[in-house]
Amino acid sequence: MTQLALVIDLNVCVGCHACVTSCKAWNTQGEAGPLSDQNPYGKDPSGTFFNRVQTFEVGQFPDTHTVHFPKSCLHCEDPPCVPVCPTGASYKRAEDGIVLVDYDKCIGCKYCAWACPYGARELDEAQKVMKKCTLCVDRITDAALAERDRKPACVLACPTSARLFGDIHDPQSEVAIAIREQGGYALMPEWGTHPANHYLPRRRTEARVREEDLQRFDNPLKVDGLLPKPATGEPALDDVTTW
């Protein structure tokens, strides 16, 4: 059974928000209606975003790490937002496991938003329906796009390749390999939602610097001493040669 999902590598995410802006742009220009903004150039801007990048500081100053944390709908394998929807607008596709909202059926009761522990769903203030990450289902199923472009906008936009896309149930896919080999984990596993999106943990890179690397042990100047210098009165090489 296919389960498409994203794998987000927290080790290389630099918090540039390219995924946020590309997602907003792609989904705002689509046929489903814009992701509306309220007061975008004003004092208290607010708007609908499918993907947000948050920043967390781990540790106590001065021993801190900054973790940039992109979060969007995790397309859970056991999504809590689907059974609670009274109209059936919230559904999980059987063919690829993407959780979607049917904007024509949604009544905007916000029950699904209360049912999602990750806060992945938002009410669009203009359209008054619930919206969330669609895994760019309109991009990945668009036969008119080139094969390499049939990925979610955020995956294509990420400059550090922190976002990977694929089928996590296919053991040979890029995402399954990443999860397996780099210890990919799910968020809030205590609630049993089995999110399909996984995160790759931070890895510590250390470089050991040894004393002998700073100084060459076979430095000829050290071994042989300084070059021989003629007495003050005698002609030196500098007097008879030109460079």
Binding site: N39, D44, F49, Q54, E57, P86, Y185, P201
Partner: protein, 300 residues
């Protein structure tokens, strides 16, 4: 949502009060049961339930599609409530009509069905909240119990008030029942407060972002203004205001109505009780700590 659940609960309670008295009356061989009282009680019950329904209708983003909301009754408690609520109102109205027409036996039967629908409706309304397992403050049978007891308490207070106007013989019995229900409701709500105070959240920042370090602090939420996530799940009140509302809910929802009932002014008791119960419902929503709040703690 406050208006929906409070008014609806009161309307249901009033109907149960009416039906209970009708059964008792029938058991005693139809001694006295003034038709104006029945009419007033049914009308009041339907008015309260209808008012609650209208309030819920307008809280929807797209109310014109509300007719779709019964579709997923197999999985969604909200869909089940959308079926149970009109069913209850219909059966209660039928009960009222049959009673008015003098067909008392048929009315009793219709009333039994309406009472069953009423209890099912309490269950559905409570389970909408109680079924969300990570909202630990709500995920308990006490939630459903509170809906039943609080609704019944307010309904019986309304019945006492109506009895005072339309059928004085029933008033003492209703008053005692209302006081007992108030006491039970207070006990149940207090038990909920105690339980919630002892809760340890199972989610924390460590599980929320998957970093196993004891000290994690959010520095940025990804938006400088607010968002749906900061408006919907945060009540925006500080600790002092929350405590103030809790005290008001306790006084106006339980203590004052009990006193007013005992002193013999049930109408005032009902008015105060509704205000107190609205506050209590606000506290119910405010005390829920949604795990998504972990992701929205600091605006940088």
């Amino acid at each position: 949502m406050l208006l929906l659940t409070t008014l609806l609960g009161a309307g249901q309670g009033l109907f149960l009060a009416l039906y209970g008295a009708d059964l008792y009356d029938a058991a005693r061989g139809r001694a006295s049961f003034a038709p104006p009282f029945v009419a007033a009680a049914v009308a009041g019950s339907l008015a309260l339930a209808g008012g609650g329904l209208a309030a819920s209708f307008f809280h929807l983003g797209r109310p014109e599609r509300a007719w779709r909301s019964a579709a997923k009754w197999r999985t969604s408690w909200l869909a089940r409530e959308v079926i149970a609520l009109p069913l209850f109102m219909l059966l209660a109205a039928l009960y009222g009509v049959l009673h008015w027409l003098g067909m008392l036996q048929a009315a009793l039967f219709a009333g039994a069905l309406a009472a069953a629908a009423c209890l099912a409706l309490y269950l559905c309304t409570g389970m909408i909240y109680a079924c969300l397992k990570f909202l630990q403050e709500w995920h308990s049978p006490l939630t459903v119990l509170n809906f039943v007891l609080l609704g019944s308490a307010s309904g019986f207070t309304a019945a006492t008030a109506l009895a005072a106007w339309f059928d004085a013989a029933l008033e003492p019995g209703y008053r005692v029942a209302a006081l007992i229900l108030l006491a039970l409701a207070a006990a149940s709500r207090a038990a909920t407060l105690v339980r919630n105070a002892r809760l340890r959240p199972r989610s924390n920042l460590q599980t929320a972002i998957g970093v196993k370090h004891p000290q994690i602090a959010q520095k940025a939420q990804g938006a400088m203004g607010g968002s749906f996530n900061t408006r919907e799940f945060f009540h925006g009140a500080d600790a002092a205001r929350l405590a103030g509302v809790k005290w008001f809910a306790g006084l106006a929802g339980f203590a004052l109505p009990a006193a007013l009932l005992a002193l013999g002014s049930p109408a005032a008791a009902f008015a105060v009780q509704i205000a107190g119960l609205l506050a209590e419902r606000w506290v119910f929503f405010a005390e829920a700590r949604h795990p998504q709040n972990l992701y929205y703690q600091a605006i940088s």
